[in-house]
């Protein structure tokens, strides 16, 4: 048993590479921009705060990708969630009922997409593309302007957004001689909770294991007696639900709803999952890797921002280059495995 854990197969190796890359990137950032405050723990916390929503979304997306599918509607769904929250609250609905409404919308949307993919057997890319169009359009139907959530509109939500969860260590003394304790926002706590729960679910529950089974080989899974259609549908429901939770975290960070919000976030989430070692063909991957994928993306944009002189398009190019490297490595591994199988 112990031996099995120690042996490095292709996927664990990829995960190790991912984690190592994150450490190298972060250490590089600390050395290059230590003087600008990059080495403070707060920088890392800021990466988490900005990407709390993305972590939730990527966890859901990983579950869908494990079944061999894809969900590109997530970015648009986040925009719709934020708009619903912003408009609902400015109409006087309280924070808690509004959050429940958002979650219910996510559930219904996920059921619809899941039914189309699982039971009608339509390509996931097309179904979720329609979902993306629908959500982006509905965001504009709800309201075409940018709606901000201020303290006057909803004090509870405002309080949540500005609440600080301080970390007892790793602070620094600023130039005025005041001790600054590092902090994260409540959204990060939610995101970490989601991450841990999904990790445990994928590892220890029947549903989690069946996701891997369906993605590995749908036909064998059916023959084993699994209800593959139902499992696929549940994966999309899970993705849309987590996306709605992510949308709330995202909204806590931006405190606004607008039509162009979270544009292209689905691609960030997909690239995070791929960099984290999830195969798009399904059956391989875990949320732990995805988490590091998100962190790598966040660190790259953080470094570019700290530098201040680099053009704003560099994070995109660097992430794409990383994606390129990772999928080529994945394909080389796949080719090696194929060869050893044939032998």
């Amino acid at each position: 048993m112990k031996n099995k854990k120690l042996s490095l197969n292709g996927h664990t190796l990829l995960l190790v590479i991912t984690i190592a890359l994150f450490i190298v990137l972060y250490a590089g950032g600390c050395i290059a921009y230590g003087a600008k405050g990059f080495s403070h723990l707060q920088t890392f916390c800021n990466v988490l705060i900005t990407n709390a929503g993305l972590i939730c979304v990527s966890c859901g997306l990983t579950c869908v990708m494990l079944t061999g599918g894809i969900d590109i509607s997530v970015g648009a769904l986040i925009a719709m969630d934020c708009m619903m929250l912003a408009v609902g609250m400015s109409k006087g609905i309280d924070a808690v009922p509004m959050i429940i409404i958002v979650l219910i919308v996510g559930l219904v949307f996920g059921l619809f997409q899941g039914y189309m993919v699982g039971y009608l057997n339509i390509q996931p890319f097309i179904v979720t593309m329609a979902g993306m169009f629908f959500c982006r359009g509905m965001t504009a139907v709800i309201c075409t302007d940018q709606v901000s959530i201020t303290e006057q509109i909803n004090a509870t939500f405002y309080k949540w957004a500005n609440a600080k969860v301080t970390i007892p260590f790793g602070g620094y003394v600023n130039n005025k001689g005041k001790y600054m304790a590092p902090y994260v926002r409540p959204g990060v706590v939610v995101a970490i909770l989601v991450l841990v729960l999904i990790y445990l679910m994928l590892r220890y529950t029947k549903f989690g294991r069946s996701l891997y089974a369906v993605g590995g080989n749908t036909q064998s899974a059916t023959m084993m007696g699994l209800n593959t259609k139902m499992i696929k549908m549940k994966a999309y429901v899970l993705s849309s639900m987590l996306c709605s939770i992510g949308g709330i975290c995202y909204c806590l960070n931006t405190m606004a709803g607008s039509v162009s919000q979270a544009l292209g976030l689905e691609m960030d989430a997909i690239s995070s999952a791929v960099i984290g070692g999830t195969l798009l063909t399904g059956g391989v991957g875990n949320v732990f890797g995805t988490f590091f994928g998100v962190l790598i993306n966040g660190t790259i944009s953080s470094i570019v921002k700290t530098n201040g002189k680099l053009a704003s398009s560099w994070p995109n190019i660097l992430t794409a280059a990383l994606l390129f490297v990772f999928i080529v490595i994945q394909s080389v591994f796949a080719a090696i495995r194929e060869k050893s199988k044939n032998k």
Binding site: Q123, A130, G131, M267, S271, L280, S313, T319
Partner: protein, 361 residues
């Protein structure tokens, strides 16, 4: 009676049924809208000659406008059809590649770092060919990943989807490059009475049709799409054919990029080709082509692209804003793919069989 049934069957199995019916529906909506508003019922179809200051006498009308505006999507749809057919996947990078080609072309014409120019730094042909060549290079990159590294098309093209637009911005030094030269505006303007984009689309379609029909390429692409392994055993170089379709797709993305940029005589990297990849994929699906690869119909895809533009123009005419229009597109996509899906088709087949059984009984 028997004859009538036969022709109905023929119509049912006609591969352009779906796009043509969709187009007719859109026209019907337009006619009803015009009648309801007390306009001339045929206002949608009216084409008049109009004098303009820039282009001389041109044809003017809603149909001409649709044919003009829908050209980029139609050009992209040609390449997308081939890619879908050969590799059973979609190239989602075409919109970004369009933007990159436009930026590269304008950068060549204006010189690096110049944001606005009226004199060309290099001859027009060099800039335009350079832009199109950039598209071919992008196509080669995608094709290599898909054909030789066996990476899922969507993931392979995801790389350029996020990088191409960003590289375009870098080439333009984060500026919007304006090429205020009459000769560059030609590709998005008018040639005689007709809009140039329409003429370019027609030329592309004719050349690619000849290439597919006069050589065996069309058959090869279909055969690779239906079963790559069997085609390889039959002696086809499946990999090279898949690679070639991606290169062609890149080439058409380049041409579409030049047209889009010439329309606004500038390279607006952030907005050129935004969401156009979705329109192109939708056009292929609407054209009655299976997204699972195999048999394809170019004519269907092109009609599909213009149908989408007709829908968009109609929605604008009905007072729906540009941001809200995607809702209707989504509903249309869902209806089309649901009709095409296997369980629904099986259901209808069963229903018609049951009907026949009843008739016999």
């Amino acid at each position: 009676m028997k004859n009538g049934k036969l022709s109905w069957k023929k119509i049912k199995s006609w591969n352009l049924l779906l796009p043509v019916v969709a187009l007719l529906l859109v026209m019907a909506v337009n006619i009803i809208y015009d009648i309801a508003n007390g306009n001339n019922p045929l206002a949608f179809f009216t084409i008049t000659l109009q004098q303009t200051t820039g282009n001389g006498t041109i044809l003017y009308g809603r149909i001409i406008d649709i044919l003009n505006r829908g050209s980029e999507a139609a050009i992209l749809a040609i390449g997308m059809t081939l890619v879908v057919s050969s590799s059973a996947g979609t190239d989602i990078s075409v919109g970004s590649v369009m933007s990159l080609c436009a930026s590269f072309c304008c950068m060549l014409l204006a010189g690096y770092g110049v944001s606005s120019t009226s004199t060309l730094a290099v001859p027009l042909a060099v800039g335009v060919l350079g832009g199109i060549l950039m598209g071919v290079v992008c196509g080669m990159f995608n094709g290599t990943l898909v054909a030789y590294f066996k990476i899922q098309p969507m993931v392979a093209t995801l790389i350029l989807f996020s990088a191409a637009r960003a590289i375009g911005l870098l080439l333009c030094n984060d500026l919007i490059v304006y090429v205020r030269n009459g000769s560059y505006a030609f590709f998005g303007g008018f040639i005689g009475l007709l809009p140039t984009p329409l003429v370019i689309t027609a030329i592309c379609a004719v050349i690619i049709t000849l290439l597919l029909k006069k050589t065996a390429l069309g058959m090869f692409i279909q055969s690779v799409g239906i079963n790559p392994k069997a085609s390889r055993i039959a002696g086809l170089n499946s990999k090279r054919i898949i690679f070639l379709t991606y290169v062609l797709c890149g080439l058409f993305a380049g041409i579409a990029g030049i047209v889009a940029s010439s329309r606004i005589t500038s390279a607006d990297s952030n907005n050129i080709g935004l969401y156009l990849e979705m329109d192109a994929i939708l056009a292929v699906a609407l054209g009655g082509n299976s997204l699972g690869g195999g048999k394809f119909s170019l004519a269907g895809s092109i009609i599909g692209a213009y149908t989408i533009q007709a829908i968009t123009t109609t929605l604008y005419a009905l007072g729906v804003s540009a941001a809200q229009a995607p809702v209707f597109k989504a509903v249309i996509v869902v209806i089309i793919v649901a009709i095409q899906s296997e369980p629904v088709r099986n259901y209808f087949k069963k229903a018609s069989l049951a009907k026949k059984a009843k008739e016999v009984a």
